[in-house]
Amino acid sequence: MLEFRFHGRGGQGSVTSAELLAVTAVADGKFAQAFPSFGPERRGAPLEAYARVSDEKIRTRSKVYKPEVVLVLDYSLLAITDVTKGLKKDGLLIISTNQDVEQVREETGWQGRLAIVDGIKIAMKHIKRPINNTVMLGALIKASKCVTMKNMEEAVQNRFGRIAKINQNAMEEAFDVVTISEGK
C-alpha cells in the first residue's frame, strides 16, 4: 500500500488532487482512499489531504502518519510546515518550486528521492491562473507511476468539464518536464 500526503493552502485544490488520485486508482482497478484533514475549511490556511492506493482492500480509517509520497503544492509552506515529517526514507518528495534541486535539498534537508517542477509557471501558461493542483498530478504520475495517465485524464475530464482540456495540457507538460533526483 502506498500512502500519500498533500500539502497546500485552502483553495489551491490539494483536496481535489487527493480525490483525483483515488478516483484514478480505482479506475485502474486498484483500491484507494482520499480524504482531507477534517476541519473548518478556510481559504489560504495551510492544510493537508491524504490518499492511499493499494492492490488489496484497504482496511484502515486512521490518518496517514508515515507516507511514501509527499506532494507540496505551495513552496512557501516549507517555512512554516515540516513537509518531510514521517516521510519514509525510501519515499518520494514532490515540490512545486522555481528553485533547483540543490536549493530544495538544502531548504528541506531531504536526502531521499525528490521531484521538482515549476507548477505555478506551467499553470500560468495553460490555465492562466496560479492553481497548480492538476499540474502537480502530472509530476506525481511521472515520479511515482502509481496511477495511469489515461485514467487520470478521464478523471480530470469528469471533474472539470469545459476547463478539463487546459488542465490536461498542464498536467502533461509537468509530466514531461519534471526533474527527478534520485536519493543519496
Binding site: A18, E19, A22, V23, T24, A25, V26, A27, F31, A32, Q33, A34, F35, P36, F38, G39, P40, I58, R59, T60, R61, S62, K63, Y65
Partner: protein
C-alpha cells in the same frame, strides 16, 4: 452488475437513495449535514428523480415533514448528523410509534459542547431508545448496499417501522473510496414499490396520532417493542436476498477471524476496519485474536451475539461515546447485560476510544489486544481503559 467507481461515500449513499426511487426527501440542508441531501437535491432539480424535495428550517421540522410524507404513503428519506439528530429527538419517537416507514442516514458525529464537528458515536447513542431499526455501515460500499436494505425492511408489512443507517462522520462520509454500484434493475428487483400499510386517504378517513390514555398506552408500547424485536428476522431475510442480488454477505453479528479466537473485540462502525488490520498483524505473530461486531444495533441481536462470543475467553468492548455517570458506557452496558445470565460467557474488558474525532491507529488496537491477551493468560482484569486520553 453496475460500475465500480471511486466516489465519496455520502454521494454514493445519496445515489442509492435516489435509485431506491424515493418519493419524498425532507431535510435541513446546512450544518450539520453531509453531501447526501445536497446531492439528492441535484437529482430532483435535474429532473432525474421524480420526488418532492422539502427543505425545512430545522431538523425538528425535517423529521416532522418526513412523518408527513410517510403518512401519505410516500417512500421517504432524510439524513442528518450530530446536533441535527439531537434536535429531531422528540419526533423520532413519533415516527416509530406511529409506524411510519422511512430511512434516515446518520453520519455519526460528536455532540457539543465544546463545539465538535468530528466523528464519534455520541449522537446515536443518545438516540438508542427511539424505537427505530438501527444498523451500522463500516464503509462506503456498505452505505450503498444497506440503503435499499433499510427501505426493504422498513416497508415490509411484518415490520412497518423507520430505519436508521449509521456510518461514521468524515472518516466514512467524506472518504473517496471504491464503491460498486448496483444497476437500476437490481434495485427494482430487490426493492418492490412501496405498499403502505397505513396512510392518510380522504376516501378512507382515519385518525393518526390519537390520545393514549393509561388504559391503552401501555399496550401500544408493547406492540411497538414486539414489532421491533421481530424485525430482526426480516433484516436477516433482507441480508440473504442482498447476498443473492449482489453477492456480498451481511450478518446481524459480523465476525472477523473470531471462530477460533481466544480474545476478541466488539466495536461499532468503521474503526472495525482499522481493528481488522491489527487483527491481521497479530495473527501473523501467532495470537488468536478476532472481532465480533453487532451490525444490527436495534433490535439487538442477543442470541447471535451470545453464540458468537460464548467460546471466547476474553472479550473487549470499545465504546465511542460516554454514558455520563454510568458504571459502563453504552455498548459495554448492552454486551454485559446480554451476557450476565449466560453460564458460558467471556470476561468483558472495556475501552473508550475515538472520541470527538481523536484518531485511533492500528498500533493502538494492537496494544489493546495485547492487554486483553494478558488477562486471558491470567492477569487481573482491568476497569474501563480510556485509550489515549491525557
Amino acid at each position: 452488475m453496475g460500475k465500480r467507481k471511486g466516489i465519496e461515500s455520502s454521494i454514493a449513499l445519496a445515489d442509492a437513495a435516489a435509485m431506491c426511487r424515493v418519493d419524498g426527501i425532507s431535510a435541513y440542508p446546512i450544518t450539520p449535514q453531509t453531501h447526501i441531501v445536497e446531492h439528492l437535491s441535484e437529482w430532483v432539480n435535474d429532473g432525474k428523480l421524480d420526488a418532492e424535495f422539502v427543505p425545512v428550517d430545522s431538523e425538528h421540522s425535517a423529521m416532522s415533514a418526513a412523518c408527513g410524507l410517510s403518512s401519505v404513503g410516500a417512500r421517504t428519506f432524510t439524513a442528518t448528523s450530530s446536533q441535527g439528530l439531537a434536535l429531531m429527538h422528540e419526533i423520532l419517537f413519533i415516527a416509530s410509534s406511529m409506524r411510519f416507514p422511512m430511512v434516515m442516514a446518520v453520519a455519526n458525529r460528536a455532540l457539543s459542547a465544546p463545539i465538535s464537528i468530528w466523528n464519534d458515536h455520541s449522537d446515536i447513542m443518545a438516540e438508542r431508545d427511539i424505537g427505530w431499526i438501527q444498523l451500522f455501515a463500516e464503509n462506503g460500499q456498505e452505505c450503498f448496499d444497506l440503503t435499499p436494505l433499510c427501505f426493504r425492511v422498513s416497508e415490509d408489512k411484518r415490520v412497518v417501522l423507520p430505519s436508521l443507517l449509521n456510518f461514521d462522520g468524515f472518516i466514512v462520509s467524506h472518504m473517496i473510496e471504491p464503491i460498486e454500484y448496483w444497476d437500476q434493475e437490481q434495485f427494482d428487483a430487490f426493492l418492490p414499490p412501496f405498499e403502505p400499510q397505513i396512510r392518510l386517504d380522504v376516501k378512507n378517513p382515519t385518525t393518526m396520532g390519537v390520545v393514549g390514555v393509561p388504559e391503552i398506552y401501555y399496550e401500544t408500547k408493547m406492540v411497538h417493542h414486539d414489532a421491533l424485536r421481530k424485525a430482526k428476522a426480516v433484516v436477516k431475510e433482507g441480508f440473504a436476498e442482498l447476498e443473492k442480488t449482489v453477492g456480498r454477505k451481511y450478518e446481524v453479528v459480523e465476525k472477523y477471524k473470531a471462530d477460533d479466537a481466544e480474545v476478541a473485540l466488539t466495536i461499532l462502525g468503521s474503526l472495525a476496519e482499522t481493528a481488522m488490520t491489527a487483527v491481521d498483524n497479530l495473527r501473523k505473530k501467532g495470537h488468536k485474536v478476532g472481532l465480533v461486531r453487532p451490525r444490527l444495533w436495534r433490535p439487538f441481536p442477543d442470541e447471535e451475539f451470545i453464540e458468537a462470543v460464548s467460546n471466547i475467553p476474553v472479550l473487549g468492548v470499545a465504546d465511542r461515546a460516554y454514558t455520563f455517570g454510568a458504571a459502563h458506557h453504552p455498548v459495554a452496558s448492552e454486551v454485559k447485560s446480554v451476557l450476565f445470565n449466560e453460564e458460558k460467557r467471556p470476561k468483558v474488558l472495556e475501552f473508550v476510544l475515538g472520541i470527538g474525532g481523536r484518531d485511533v491507529k492500528v498500533e493502538e488496537f494492537e496494544e489493546m489486544f495485547m492487554k486483553m491477551i494478558k488477562v486471558k493468560d491470567g492477569a487481573k482484569p482491568f476497569g474501563i481503559e480510556y485509550v489515549g486520553v491525557r
